[in-house]
């Protein structure tokens, strides 16, 4: 799941639900910790990570999107 929310840090402000360009948080309820309903539609753009006032979101880069580097 690309966007991972730290439930301890999240204050359910809803900023991520408001701004997500692909609406992966569709169906999340106001004042509740958001749900990542459509993880496969995450563009990995980092908007929610960047705009979260609680620093509670982290992107787990999908396995098929891991960069290929030399050791």
């Amino acid at each position: 799941m690309p966007a991972v929310i730290d439930k301890e840090k999240c204050n359910a402000c809803g900023v991520c639900v408001k701004i997500c360009p692909t609406d992966v948080y569709y169906g999340s309820k106001p004042k509740e910790i958001p749900v990542v309903m459509y993880p496969e539609e995450c563009w990995h753009c980092n908007a929610c990570v960047h705009d979260c006032p609680q620093d509670a979101i982290h992107l787990r880069i999908a396995l098929n999107m891991q960069l290929v580097y030399k050791s």
Binding site: C20, P21, H44, L59, L67
Partner: protein
């Protein structure tokens, strides 16, 4: 069988901007300044939607005080008509100053900086700016100017009134609502067309620019009778392997092969201008090719990182950080992504389209990137406001407002419980595009592929299903892609030559006579029909 019903709501305004990216927002600002009542629609949220959502770092322009006078240099840089090109270069610097005044940092350390995305030996025309919050600033400015922004609404089709475009019909992508917009002018600014061709990256949403830009503006303009041009002249980009992201011109390292030998494509052009280099190396067995940052100084590395952040590449930088890997010590691979569609609505220097009341800007035809969105967005706003000021209100009796058709289509998709998901339909169109209208094209392939596509296209509206408004949006995106796909096939079959990535095995050479013309496709009797027109 579900029983979803959409409630109908009406919105009235002078000017409707479809798409809340830099073009749509600049249009809204300028039109509002001309006293027009403006509504901006975005199917995401204007703060972070689209390609510019998390930033951009290069703005094409000519600043004579910095670059000097360059007579004749710029009038050849641009893919659109000469009048459009001239208008762009004459206005871009004004937009730089305007954006700077709105709080978008157009200067770096107090000076205009031209760097990156450039060709050594030529004047650099890419202004390096720090645009991570461009959309935040433009949203604020649009609201300040008086524009109303309605987020999470997708437009389905345009409304005609006696040959003039006078509004649009759309739906809320979170709530069961159908919206009818009655306006005097419409500006299309929905951006690019992704997800038509596979990007070779393992998933539908792993795309170098926003995966939810699906040619919606092109498709609705075409359905309303507007011609689309250059649809067969596809392009390709390259970037980090497996993590599709634009910004290759912001990476300041060099490409090296597995033995550490620097790769030069054979002339003075830097390798990042050759997107197929990576694929060709891979195919030859000599690959992979690596982006190698080992030679750059600490100062240059910090500079590069600054602009990569503003070029929306933070998740890539974060990946290295979390992996505990310094990219200066670990060269990483680049790859060639799939085909994209730069062609589209060939708007003129006033952003007019062939349809009265319909204007277009920005990446409805890809030419000048974010700077083009700024310049032509503003001009579209001005033109649309002027048109609206003299337009008559929409005639309810005469106008074609397809509420019933729209309701029927959308509700049938929402109520279907046995059918195809949007992903299934999207994969189907990508498959036929890649195999029959991809990098190998010929009369026989295009004919067979088009026949298959048309069979699918007929079935798709009858089988698509969506569990909610969100999936309904994805379904409508795919329906748009089927229109764009069919147009691409028709145009590719008509262009009997090889040009750029349009490679006809049966016509393997570029035809210089054809070069003076543009290929347009227009709907006639329900079918896309190609037509050659002389270049303006």
């Amino acid at each position: 069988m579900n029983d979803a019903r959409l409630n109908v709501e009406q919105v009235e305004a002078d000017v409707l901007c479809i798409g809340g990216g830099p073009a749509g927002l600049c249009a809204a600002i300028r039109a509002s300044e001309q006293s027009a009542k403006v509504v901006v629609i975005d199917k995401s949220h204007t703060l972070r939607s689209g390609d510019a959502g998390m930033g951009n770092d290069h703005f094409m322009c000519h600043i004579p005080d910095v670059q000097g006078e360059l007579p004749g240099f710029f009038n050849k840089i641009g893919k659109m008509s000469q009048a459009v090109t001239k208008t762009f270069w004459e206005n871009a610097y004004d937009l730089v100053k305007l954006w700077d005044s709105w709080g978008i940092p157009m200067k770096y350390e107090g000076r205009y900086e031209f760097a990156g995305h450039s060709i050594p030996g030529y004047p650099n025309f890419m202004l390096h700016f720090s645009g991570q919050n461009t959309k935040v600033k433009l949203t604020k400015q649009a609201k300040k100017a008086g524009a109303k922004i309605i987020n999470r609404v997708m437009i389905l089709d345009l409304i005609h009134d006696n040959g003039t475009i006078a509004g649009a019909i759309g739906f809320d992508v979170r709530n069961p609502k159908l919206l009818v917009f009655k306006t005097k002018a419409v500006i299309l600014a929905t951006g690019k067309c992704m997800r038509l061709f596979p990007q070779n990256t393992g998933s539908l949403f792993n795309t170098s620019t926003s995966p939810v830009n699906t040619g919606d503006g092109r498709a609705m303009a075409y359905r309303a009778g507007c011609e689309l041009t250059d649809m067969e002249l596809n392009d390709r980009w390259s970037g980090p392997k497996y993590f599709a992201r634009n910004g290759r011109g912001s990476w300041t390292g060099v490409f090296r092969d597995p033995n550490g030998i620097q790769i030069d494509p054979g002339n003075e052009m830097p390798a990042h201008f050759y997107p197929e280099l990576h694929e060709n190396y891979q195919k030859s067995g000599r690959g992979p090719l690596y982006m190698d940052l080992s030679d750059i100084s600490d100062e240059d590395y910090e500079y590069m990182k600054h602009f990569l952040i503003h070029e929306a590449n933070t998740p890539i930088l974060d990946f290295f950080k979390e992996e505990g890997v310094d990219p200066r010590e670990h060269p990483f691979e680049f790859m060639t992504y799939g085909l994209i569609t730069p062609g589209g609505i060939n708007y003129n220097e006033k952003c007019e389209t062939p349809l009265a009341g319909l204007f277009a800007a920005g990446d409805e035809f890809m030419s000048f990137y974010i700077a083009g969105a700024a310049v032509f967005g503003s001009i579209a706003g001005e033109s649309a406001a002027a048109f609206a000021a003299q337009a008559k209100p929409l005639d309810e009796k005469r106008a074609q407002i397809p509420v019933v058709t729209a309701k029927e289509l959308l509700e049938s998709v929402l109520n279907r419980t046995d059918g195809a998901t949007w992903q299934e339909a999207n994969n189907a169109i990508q498959q036929v595009m890649a195999d029959y209208c991809g990098l190998i094209r010929s009369e026989t392939l295009l004919t067979a592929g088009l026949e298959h596509l048309r069979r699918l296209k007929k079935k798709v509206p009858q089988v698509l299903m969506a569990q909610n408004q969100h999936e309904l949006m994805r379904c409508v995106e795919v329906l748009n892609l089927f229109d764009i796909g069919e147009i691409t096939f028709v145009a590719a079959r008509e262009r009997k030559e090889t040009r750029q990535y349009h490679r006809r095995t049966d016509f393997p050479f570029e035809n210089p006579i054809i070069g003076a013309q543009t290929l347009a496709v227009k709907k006639e009797n329900g079918q896309p029909v190609p037509k050659w027109i002389m270049k303006a």
